[in-house]
């Protein structure tokens, strides 16, 4: 899915945060949004991922605006996966049940959990596994419906550097299989895994690198 953001500007109240951004996320690409804290990464990612409406400008998904994609829940369910800094696994459900909650096709759950290396943890609850394992389960939940694109905001913010690299490697692997990724992080190491790097500074795109 091609996502195009045109002339994006965003205000939080009086605060002018995004100051005119034009950007294209190519289908299947692995895009990293990097930059200092407060530079507007999260705001931009939220706008590109349907979570936030920009104050000015527009976003299209394969040429359709958000108003034209139909039911937003259905659109998200079939096309978009989310990974947040916190895992948001439901504590009274096992890891497998958490993934199943999102799944349109339950037969995909076990193979996916296996490829994420958490197949043996399916029956455990989120407070019975490590932080890295929790984030893997959250990633499984984001990937279960084979979304066209996954948005992740600071997905490694709560992880140590070893687990963080593990997450980037996972993203890379699924990206090579065709899933698009847009990942925002102030962690510069992320850049080594992405094919497109958007560097933000003070609400504008400072630079775009392609690999």
């Amino acid at each position: 899915m091609n996502i195009i953001g045109s002339a994006l500007e965003h205000y939080y109240g009086q605060e002018y945060i995004l100051r005119g951004i034009d950007i294209e996320i190519k289908a299947g690409s692995f895009t990293a949004i990097i930059g200092e804290s407060g530079s507007g990464k999260t705001t931009l990612l939220s706008i590109l991922s349907t979570l936030l409406n920009p104050t000015l400008g527009s976003v299209t998904f394969d040429g359709k605006t958000i108003a034209e994609v139909g039911n937003i829940d259905t659109f998200r369910r079939h096309n978009i996966g989310f990974v947040f800094q916190f895992h948001y696994l439901i504590s009274y459900l096992t890891l497998r049940e958490n993934v199943a909650l999102a799944a349109l096709d339950e037969t995909l759950i076990d193979p996916l959990m296996e490829s994420l290396g958490i197949e043996r943890l399916g029956g455990r609850y989120s407070d019975e596994v490590s932080g890295g394992e929790r984030q893997r389960a959250a990633i499984a939940r984001a990937l279960i419906n084979r979304p066209k694109i996954v948005f992740a905001d600071e997905p490694t913010g709560n992880l140590d550097s070893k687990n963080a690299l593990g997450v980037y490697e996972l993203f890379k692997r699924f990206s090579d299989e065709g899933t698009g990724f847009v990942v925002a992080s102030h962690d510069k190491k992320l850049a080594e895994y992405a094919d497109t790097i958007i560097e933000m500074e003070d609400g504008i795109v400072k630079k775009i690198y392609q690999r």
Binding site: L51, D73, R77, F84, Y88, I90, Y92
Partner: protein
């Protein structure tokens, strides 16, 4: 079905609070309806015994105030289609040492409707006692009604609590005690089809009286309306309290579980799915609370029925209809109480999952 149970177990404390608040409300509804229904049905049962038509004084608010003259009973009895006419006096008086007891003066032909367990029907100057009051007074040989002495001729057993806790005497004795001829006539018909024409005839014969079918009398009887209205009002208040309890607890539950509903929205579960999830959780609580409230109410009613203090006057029964109605009320309570918090949950913006500013 397993998911809502897990959610409830996880949020044990709040689940328990919702459960208790619902149980209390539902029990209150059960008890007030059963007791008021019991009072009404006891009284109607008494009137319906040998009474297809009831005659009272015209325009009175309560049968206690009614006074009609027995002199016309003979003419009514001779009318075509009439099987039998009985006269009743309702009164209440202190029976030493009890401060107030129901006294029933009845014409001789009504004695047969009391099932004697010992002794015989009362002659003049005698009374028969309901088994309940007979026990309460510890098997007396004589009793003092308003300081007047009566010999106990027999004991009867009645399922109608008013009667079982009351004293039955001849209508003449009752008339002397309460200074009236009769409170009401009860008329049984040999031909029910004649009831309309008979009512007309009786109303012409007794200009100061008013004849009605017993059913229509019961429907229009003011005291019943008052009892029913107050029980409906109290029941409605219990219902509202129940709803408010659920609303406030569920709002807290939704607030505790914001992340859960936010993530559901982000993975594309519809608002309806989220609302349904929360509704099914409270529905489970409602069904359990209903069952417990049923049991508790049944127990309380049993206790009340056998409490000497009430002399069987308070006698509630949870009928099948009441059971069904209260079940519907419980479910409605759960649904209404959960709806607003659930809609709020379904509207939680997944944007709230994003850690703002900072990093």
């Amino acid at each position: 079905m397993i998911t809502p149970l897990k959610a409830l177990r996880k949020n044990r404390f709040k689940t328990a609070l919702i459960f208790m608040s619902m149980s209390v409300s539902i029990s209150a509804i059960f008890l007030i309806s059963a007791i008021s229904g019991g009072v009404v049905s006891m009284y109607s049962a008494m009137l319906k015994t040998d009474g297809d038509i009831i005659v009272t004084q015209k325009g009175i608010a309560d049968t206690f105030f009614s006074d009609i003259n027995r002199s016309q009973m003979g003419s009514i009895a001779k009318m075509e289609g009439v099987k039998e006419v009985t006269a009743l006096i309702f009164g209440a008086a202190p029976v030493d040492p009890l401060p107030i007891v129901g006294i029933y003066g009845v014409s001789e032909n009504r004695f047969k409707s009391y099932a004697l367990t010992q002794g015989s029907s009362p002659q003049m100057g005698e009374v028969m006692l309901g088994s309940k009051i007979y026990e309460t007074l510890k098997h007396p040989k004589t009793i003092l009604i308003s300081k007047k002495k009566f010999v106990v001729s027999g004991v009867f057993k009645s399922k109608i609590g008013f009667e079982d806790g009351g004293v039955v005497m001849n209508v003449e004795d009752g008339g002397a005690l309460f200074h009236k001829s009769a409170s009401i006539f009860l008329i049984t018909l040999s031909d029910l089809g004649k009831s309309d024409s008979l009512i007309k005839k009786i109303n012409t014969l007794l200009p100061e009286g008013e004849a009605k079918t017993t059913d229509s009398f019961i429907d229009s009887y003011n005291q019943f309306k008052i009892i029913k209205t107050s029980s409906d009002v109290i029941g409605a208040m219990a219902f509202l309290m129940g709803i408010l309890g659920i609303v406030s607890m569920m709002s807290m539950v939704v607030n505790d579980r914001k992340g859960e509903f936010g993530i559901m929205r982000s993975i594309g579960l519809s608002s309806r799915t989220i609302i349904f999830k929360l509704l099914s959780e409270t529905l489970i609580i409602a069904v359990l609370a209903f069952a417990v409230a049923w049991g508790v109410s049944q127990g309380v009613l049993e206790l009340i029925e056998h409490a000497d203090k009430f002399q069987g006057y308070i006698n509630g029964e949870i009928t099948f209809t009441l059971l069904c109605n209260v079940f519907i009320v419980s479910v409605t309570m759960a649904l209404l109480g959960t709806l607003l918090p659930a809609i709020y949950a379904a509207r939680i913006d997944p944007m709230s999952l994003i850690q703002r500013g900072g990093a």
